[in-house]
């Protein structure tokens, strides 16, 4: 009798567990299947690593184009497709089309979704009408449209299951980021840092689309979901009004801190991780204080949104170094101790390795030797400025003041790296990082705020570091020690997300349009192919019918398309010297295309 009862009890407990966490379990399982690519970064840890190894360092040189697909859209194509079983889901920039392609039947279009959106949203998107891709959960494809509509489409039919409004484009709020499905919720950020938006991350119910919680980047404690006692910054409680105290008056209401980057999730710790962007305006004189929690790494409870810890990388930003870049979660040993780590390559040119459980800062080092706005982060735990970067006077636009042009600041506003995500290979324990190698002059001046209008407040010009002619590097980075292992020069900024594979090959795209494969250990170039347009998309791999494929969206644009289409300002032009770099428009033109590669039969 006892045995029967026990069996019944266990059975119902198992049923309960499946019922409460099914979407989560389903996604974790799916993300472990290397044949699929089920979330924007491939896995919750944002490693962009695939166990597939059919394509390897020995044979990648024989790679060839298997098939291509035109998206029919000309603007900048960021992100990459999802692959689930025999179906590939491809997204586009505005008007945000979604195609479901049948990989088992000549890549035919199964369904197509194209929302009707007011084109007036186009000019309130800061830097081109990009979209960073789709997410999947519970049989639905989730799209975050330019007009901030979050829509769930039936993965089989493309029919709208539900839609939610995440923001108001009339106030400059727009949607560019990919959502992340975590358990029974869809988490999504918002864009608008150049329009004075009070940005946030919001959780919606995966089944119904109803809003569950919203956590702002700046404001009162209840709005930012920080507990004065339980939420910590570098091991200490943040205290009451930790954000409000760092803004003048009501400025936090138009404070920016936008959340348009990638999110990651640790199922074991039940925590989500993401970064916040620049404080508005770009004129630091106009917003005295640390402007918390802009430029911050947030670690939040996945269910409630409450922050467990925060770390502000660039207090009182003076250069537009958004902190939105991805958080890559790895388990590695530091000083012989196994640690749960978070590694983040910030726009400010510093790469941070932290303990993702408690927010302890372990490593903060420059990942481009040209970074010159700071002498580094104070790592002395007993120092009053522990964890703060030391700002050098020569690069301080705040110190120089309004209407003063500060020259030769590295990196430029687009950062040593922007949204283009890095990859991590557990085989080599190295990070593969696409970077910008660009410096700038920056002159802040006074601006006034008008809802829905640009709120910038600085003039800038960008150029490669003095004496150099290349504007990008693709590097391998050791996050445990904070050192560059190898570095490949690229003529233009590398604005494409990397892919690491068990085949010992790392892939990335270039602004000229090359898909490149390099040796994971040495960085040696093994293969390149010029796709129809410049690549600002992320490289993806999947397996179908026993064959490994590598896919990438080309279609130049984004912020890279602004500065680089015309060529950056040549500081030597006035002196009559010949610049070593020509405009990107001499290499490539617009047009969205998916190119898929495989080995010959």
């Amino acid at each position: 009798m006892r045995k029967v009862l026990l069996a019944t009890y266990l059975g119902s407990a198992a049923a309960l567990a499946v019922g409460s966490a099914s979407a989560n379990d389903e996604l974790i399982k799916m993300s472990q299947n290397p044949k699929d690519w089920v979330m924007p970064a491939g896995d919750y840890a944002n490693t962009r690593y695939s166990k597939l190894n059919q394509i390897n360092a020995q044979n990648v040189g024989k790679l060839q184009v298997a098939w291509t697909f035109s998206t029919g859209v000309l603007r900048g194509h960021e992100g990459g497709p999802l692959i689930i079983g025999n179906v590939m889901y491809v997204h586009t920039p505005f008007p945000n089309k979604v195609y479901a392609l049948d990989l088992s039947n000549e890549n035919k279009i199964i369904w197509k979704y194209e929302p009707k959106q007011d084109p007036n949203v186009i000019p309130v998107m800061c830097c081109d009408t990009v979209n960073r891709g789709l997410s999947y959960g519970d049989g639905k494809i989730i799209l975050h449209q330019a007009d901030t509509t979050l829509v769930a489409l039936d993965a089989k039919t493309g029919q709208v299951a539900w839609s939610a409004t995440n923001g108001n484009p009339a106030k400059g709020e727009t949607g560019t980021s990919a959502a992340l499905v975590v358990k029974d919720k869809v988490l999504v950020g918002i864009s608008g840092g150049e329009f004075g938006v009070q940005c946030h991350v919001t959780a919606y119910d995966l089944k119904s689309g109803k809003q569950v919680w919203r956590a702002f980047s700046e404001g009162p404690d209840d709005q930012i979901k920080l507990d004065p006692v339980k939420t910590t910054a570098l091991g200490k409680p943040v205290g009451a009004d930790s954000s409000l105290k760092t803004w003048q008056g009501d400025q936090w209401k138009i404070g920016g801190g936008c959340t348009w980057g990638w999110m990651s999730f640790d199922p074991a710790l039940n925590m989500v991780y993401y970064g916040s962007g620049n404080p508005s305006t770009w004129n630091p004189k106009q917003r005295p204080g640390d402007n918390k929690w802009s430029m911050t790494i947030f670690a939040r409870d996945a269910d409630t949104g409450m922050a467990k810890w925060v770390y502000q990388m660039t207090p009182h930003d003076e250069w537009d170094y958004d902190g939105v870049n991805e958080m890559i979660l790895t388990d590695q040993q530091i000083n012989g101790q196994p640690r749960k780590l978070l590694t983040h390559f910030d726009r400010n040119g510093l790469a941070y390795t932290m303990d993702r459980e408690n927010g302890e800062l372990l490593v903060a080092e420059k990942y481009d030797p040209k970074v010159n706005w700071t002498s580094g982060v104070d790592m002395n735990k007993s120092s009053p400025t522990y964890g703060r970067p030391k700002v050098l006077d020569a690069a301080s636009t705040d110190k120089a003041g309004e209407d003063h042009n500060v020259k030769g600041i590295c990196p430029a506003a687009l950062g040593t790296k922007d949204e283009q995500p890095a990859a991590y290979s557990p085989d080599t324990q190295l990070f593969y990082v696409p970077t910008n190698h660009v410096c700038m002059d920056y002159e802040p001046f006074k601006v006034s705020y008008t809802a829905g209008q640009p709120y910038v407040g600085a003039t800038l010009s960008m150029y490669p570091p003095q004496g150099e002619s290349h504007m990008g590097n693709f590097i391998a980075w050791d996050g445990k020690t904070g050192k560059i292992v190898w570095s490949n020069k690229e003529q233009f900024s590398v604005w494409s997300g990397a892919l690491a594979t068990a085949g010992g090959v790392v892939f990335y795209g270039t602004l000229e349009g090359y898909l490149k494969a390099v040796d994971a250990k040495s960085g040696k170039e093994l293969y390149k192919f010029k796709t129809p347009s410049g690549i600002i998309g992320n490289v993806t791999t999947y397996e179908n019918n026993g064959k490994q494929y590598v896919a990438v969206l080309s279609g130049v644009g984004g912020w890279a398309g602004i500065g680089l289409a015309a060529g950056l300002t040549d500081p030597t032009a006035g002196l009559g010297a010949v610049g070593g770099y020509a405009a990107l428009s001499n290499y490539t033109a617009l047009g969205g295309t998916l190119t898929v590669f495989s080995l010959p039969n």
Partner: protein, 173 residues
């Protein structure tokens, strides 16, 4: 305030006449200087004045700064254009001064089956609306290559009358 009034006047003109592809702005030679430091051509339209030693008039300098704050994020550095917005150094060659001001104030849409280009209306944004002449003068200098792809290093001082008008327009005390 004066500038905002003139913007409204131009907007009415544009609304009635429509934005047509007009003739270029004509001879850019500066013939007359106003109290606020603005040079005018013989038609009475704003223009640049650049000395042999490279000293630029205040409006060219101010236009450079304003352009690289609010315009360059779409139209690219130095008026050169981007992957999704036209090169304004070329656009101003085939636009009249009135059309230029009208497009900034009320925006324009260029929507075809292949592309959707939308220029927002900046008439309500003092960061742009108060500096339309500055932008025009700078871009006019770029259109003739009278000024190149660099920041002006030598400039005329900011005239007092300009500061007064700017403060009034920006709503400062």
């Amino acid at each position: 305030m004066r500038k905002i009034c003139s913007v409204i006047a131009v907007m009415i003109f544009v609304a009635s006449g429509g934005v047509a592809v007009a003739d270029g702005p004509g001879d850019p030679t500066a013939v007359k200087k106003e109290d606020d430091g603005k040079w005018l051509d013989k038609e009475g339209n704003p223009t640049y004045k650049i000395s042999a030693d490279g000293t630029v008039d205040w409006f060219t300098y101010s236009g450079y700064r304003r352009y690289h704050s609010d315009c360059h994020v779409c139209h690219g550095p130095d008026g050169m254009g981007s992957t999704y917005a036209p090169a304004l150094k070329d656009s101003v060659k085939s636009m009249s001064y009135g059309d230029f001001i009208g497009v900034i104030a009320s925006g324009r849409k260029n929507i075809s089956t292949a592309q959707e280009n939308v220029m927002p209306a900046f008439g309500d944004n003092p960061n742009v609306a108060c500096y339309m002449d500055d932008l025009y003068v700078y871009l006019r200098a770029r259109s003739t290559e009278a000024w190149g792809r660099q920041r002006p290093s030598k400039k005329e001082e900011k005239p007092e009358a300009y500061t007064k008008a700017e403060d009034a327009c920006m709503g400062k005390k």
